[in-house]
Point group: C2
Chain length 340, copies 2
């Protein structure tokens, strides 16, 4: 499935998601708060998480239909499914607001970050508001199991952020810890977005677990590619300087793998740089690329992402073929081709 | 009821609340996160909010007992009630963590603030974690109505903080806006803590509404007294410099009332100071007290707090006399006598 085809399929859903979110925000009394939240949510996000909820629900609902009765394209999701799907966009936006405060970020998606415009105080509180709204929606539009799945993903994200802060700059970060952090930071929320779509339609446990696995693997693949793009992307696409993670001393898969396999002088050189300053790493950035190439750090990461995407796609084997399944497969493959 | 008597009655409940909270935190994997949360929660809080939930539940449960059957002191609240009660302590602690980051506060309850020890990043995330845990508990230990009541209180708190930031320093802050802010910032959560206690016991709607009114009024009274103590408290008790709100240009009831009633040169003098700098206000702090005294700003605030306490107590008229009712009345009266 081509990217343009994928986008054309998803666009109508995105429009309903956006309308539903606008309706939800209509009840905010404070105009400044509403302005910040509008900015944070309607700021060019791709709506991946709510789309996954909708697609997972469509897939499970279609698989329930007796053969020959009704058509997939006639399935009309109830408004509550859209309301539940947007919970994941709220949680994502809330965590970006707080992340930008934490990182003192000045840009987000090519525009000034919310904290640059409104300051730390307002943005911390706006994040809290989005977060509270999301959790309330999860447990009122959904039920207590819905809330439990989403709440666990949220707390897992935070535990992963703690682990990352404690270990990400440590040059002996293991591949295992790298994936543990990714699983919490990105996999958990994406996995639960898929799981909730299945749960909402009263899917069988096996289907719910399969969609969870799909989402977990997709989230991991997405993040591994993200870390690769940091080294190999085009700055005009990613909006970030090439090698930024290395300069910051952040350990990601290409470097972790290289450090595992380098020996002698090469290992000493890399370790020395990682013990040094960002300026020193910036100065030697041209030297690090050949080392990662030589030890196949990029190839290993790319292979890892591919394997994860295959795992995601295989998780869908138990489902009947249909448009929703094709779209989920298309989304997974898209992760490997993205350039930003 | 004397303060010592009140404390003796509440102490056993506080111990169960604390044990329940410790149990909840046992599932946190990250030791640093656990350390911050322990520090934030077990840091000398008075547990007023969870105590109110427990007392409201005891009151409603007792009122259901047929006459002569069973004794109030034999009522044993289920563990789920304690777990629901602690939600209010988590939300309170989460908001204090974020408030201290926002205010760059260095002290909290006479000890270094969490952000002073662990920095902004960790404390924002720890607040998010507590918040997510609280909301998940609310909707899983409780039901969707429980979550809705608590979620509305949380978002109301944030809307009130926005209103406060936009108006609190405005010298024409009306008494109405002052109370709107208080209602959101303090009343909403305390009101819902009481309401949830009633809801948990399947109390009649009338009883649930009465306990909500009790909590709303108690929260307002508490805050009005807090604002009075800022002017009249002993720094060794409150831990804050006397007249701190005035120096910061923060409009609270004594000053709002004075400004409403002052005329001519007096009004010009106060307005001029409020347009000036904190240093100028600090310099003239001795001049402002006689003006507030003259226009009865302190007496008016004290009277306001007393009326609110009476409203709170009258809300309990519909309940049978019992120990829980006496304790709730005692707590309301205590608000007027507190010195810190």
């Amino acid at each position: 499935m081509k990217k343009s085809e994928l986008l054309a399929l998803l666009q109508p859903e995105i429009e309903v998601i956006d309308t539903t979110m606008h309706q939800e925000f209509a009840s905010i009394n404070n105009t400044l708060l509403k302005e910040i939240i509008d900015y944070a949510v309607f700021n060019g996000g791709k709506r991946i998480r709510p789309l996954l909820t909708l697609l997972a629900a469509r897939l499970c609902a279609f698989c329930k239909m007796p053969k020959g009765v009704g058509k997939e394209e006639e399935l009309t999701p109830p408004i509550d499914l859209y309301r539940l799907a947007m919970v994941f966009e709220f949680l994502h936006a809330a965590s970006l607001l707080h992340d930008d405060v934490i990182d003192n970020a000045t840009q987000r998606r090519g525009k000034p970050s919310a904290n640059t415009i409104w300051g730390t105080t307002h943005v911390i509180l706006a994040g809290d508001f989005l977060h509270a709204s999301a959790m309330t929606l999860a447990g009122t539009v959904g039920d207590s199991s819905t809330l439990n799945i989403i709440g666990s993903a949220t707390t897992a994200m935070i535990e992963a952020e703690f682990l990352q802060m404690q270990t990400a700059a440590a040059k002996d970060l293991s591949e295992e810890n790298y994936f543990t952090i990714l699983r919490g930071k990105t996999g958990a929320l994406i996995g639960s977005a898929c799981e909730i779509g299945a749960y909402f339609t009263d899917a069988e446990n096996e289907q719910q677990a399969a969609l969870r696995r799909y989402g977990d693997a997709l989230g991991l693949a997405f993040q591994v590619v993200d870390d690769l793009l940091d080294y190999q992307g085009y700055p005009e696409n990613t909006g970030k300087a090439v090698g930024n993670d290395f300069v910051e001393g952040k350990m990601t898969l290409p470097l972790i793998y290289t450090l595992q396999n380098a020996e002698g002088d090469e290992k000493i050189f890399i370790t020395h740089l990682l013990d040094g300053t960002p300026e020193q790493r910036q100065e030697h950035i041209e030297d690090i690329y050949p080392l990662i190439e030589k030890h196949e750090g990029f190839a290993y990461s790319r292979k890892g992402a591919e394997t994860l995407v295959e795992t995601a796609i295989e998780s869908l084997d138990i489902f009947k073929d249909c448009q929703a399944k094709k779209t989920l497969i298309g989304l997974a493959r898209y992760v490997l081709t993205r350039e930003k």
